[in-house]
């Protein structure tokens, strides 16, 4: 039996009391555990269970908090979370509302990283609008890395393959261990002072978080930010993010990738040049051909050909004139010939020998024509000339 002094609460009331109690008692706790049953809701929020060998607690992380993570939480991952304990009344269970999460084992460095990242972000060092453009066709590249590291070797071979005509100036530095950050920062300053490079690649090959740490130090971040020459950050592998990456003008996933990003492929460029030469030649040829066609059509046009027509007409007239001249000449020659002929005939008719044909004869004595009977003596010789021959003769009385 229940006592008369009993106070009866509704489920809602007790849940509220529990909620207030829990939320006031655990406004912020750090819990370490393993993620399980991890699922991302379509809203973007992450629901999961945090457990160890003997217990478990429901957890959720809002999308806005999730976005700040540099890794993707997944089942089996050991993490430390920070959050507030709350109650979800409809299900009657308590849970942790997580606002921070970090993988176990990174701890301090990661915290330092986060702290510096927030500080520099607040100062505007990561503002994309402050990034300098990377030159499209650099001729000289500055490389700040270890002289003996794989990164330099990788970059050299990429540059040699893609763009052997590039000039490379290496400023060797230590990339890990005490003092490395100071050397890298000084190298960036020196490279700017030297000045004869179009872009600087600063980086190193892969390694542990501790190995890469120099690129997470403030002095390096500030030097990159202050660089007048554009800086490409190329640290570790694709998955490694450093402060240098955030502040640089361009982040390359690896040193080789940095070399690829910085120079264009020479073969492609040569092809582009060939295409441009071809286009120039072609457009000009087309144009000249166009003009040629225009001139041709003008030459063939009616009005342009009028003078030619005149010329043709004139030539024709000339031909006709010549023909008629020839005719007239023939006519003239014939006429002259005819006249000549008549004249000969008339001349013939007065030829004394012509008279002989009609039966007359001529008498010659000593070469002269005898025109009187008294001119001959008896016994003298004379010649009687007929039209067809002569007969010698002697005067007898």
């Amino acid at each position: 039996m229940l006592g008369p002094e009993r106070k009866i609460l509704s489920v809602t009331e007790i849940t509220r009391k529990i909620r207030i109690y829990l939320e006031e008692t655990f406004p912020q706790v750090w819990i370490q555990g393993e993620i399980s049953n991890c699922r991302r809701h379509t809203s973007g929020h992450l629901y999961f269970t945090l457990k160890d060998e003997t217990a478990q607690i429901s957890a959720l992380m809002w999308q806005s908090n999730l976005e700040t993570l540099l890794f993707a939480p997944e089942d089996g991952m050991k993490v430390i979370v920070r959050g507030a304990i709350t109650v979800y009344p409809p299900k009657g269970n308590y849970q942790i509302d997580v606002d921070k999460m970090q993988p176990v084992g990174i701890g301090e460095l990661q915290l330092a990283f986060e702290k510096l990242k927030q500080k520099l972000a607040a100062e505007g060092l990561f503002d994309p609008r402050r990034r300098k453009p990377i030159p499209v066709y650099p001729e000289n590249i500055g490389i700040i890395t270890s002289e003996s590291g794989a990164a330099l070797h990788d970059m050299k071979s990429v540059l040699e393959r893609r763009f052997p005509s590039i000039g490379v100036v290496v400023l060797p530095v230590r990339v890990q261990g005490p003092g490395a950050a100071q050397e890298i920062a000084q190298a960036i300053v020196d490279m700017n002072r030297y000045g004869r490079v179009d872009v600087i690649i600063v980086g190193r090959g892969g390694g542990s978080l501790e190995d890469l740490w120099a690129f997470n130090e403030e002095i390096v971040a500030r030097a990159i930010h202050a660089s007048r020459i554009p800086v490409v950050s190329a640290v570790g592998h694709e998955i490694d993010f450093t402060i240098s990456d955030f502040v640089a003008d361009l982040r390359a996933p690896t040193p080789s990738a940095a070399a690829e990003l910085v120079v264009r492929d020479r073969a492609e460029l040569l092809e582009t040049l060939r295409n441009m030469s071809y286009t120039m030649k072609q457009t000009l040829t087309d144009r000249v051909n166009g003009y040629f066609e225009r001139v041709k059509s003008l030459v063939e046009s009616y009005s342009f050909n009028r003078p030619k027509d005149y010329l043709r007409e004139f030539a024709q007239t000339l031909d006709e004139f010549e023909r008629s001249l020839q005719l007239k000449f023939h006519h003239f020659v014939e006429l002259t010939f005819q006249k000549q002929l008549n004249f000969s005939q008339r001349l013939e008719s007065v030829n004394p020998r012509g008279v002989l044909k009609r039966g007359y004869t001529m008498v010659r004595h000593k070469g002269t024509v005898v025109t009187s009977s008294k001119k001959l003596e008896v016994g003298e010789r004379a010649v009687i000339e007929f039209h067809d021959g002569e007969v010698p003769t002697r005067v007898e009385r």
Binding site: L159, G167, M280
Partner: protein, 77 residues
């Protein structure tokens, strides 16, 4: 100091100029005489750029400071 003067001036400028020339030739609005001059210039630029690209050997040097604090380029082992 044997490094040649870097670039900002040369290759990129040449290429930009070349692109402009190709564009204006393609648009075809310049008078023919100018177009011929542009063409000449363009072919020269294209040849010069190609020459630069064809320089076969990569020049790789190490930047060091001498005792006087001046920069000098040294061979890289």
């Amino acid at each position: 100091m044997s490094a040649r003067k870097t670039s900002k001036g040369s290759f990129e400028d040449s290429l930009n100029r070349l692109e402009k020339i190709v564009e204006s030739l393609e648009r075809g609005q310049v008078p023919l005489d100018d177009a011929l001059n542009l063409y000449e210039e363009g072919i020269q630029l294209s040849k010069a750029c190609a020459e630069k690209l064809k320089a076969a050997e990569m020049r790789i040097k190490k930047l060091a400071k001498n005792t006087g604090g001046q920069f000098e380029l040294q061979d890289l082992e």
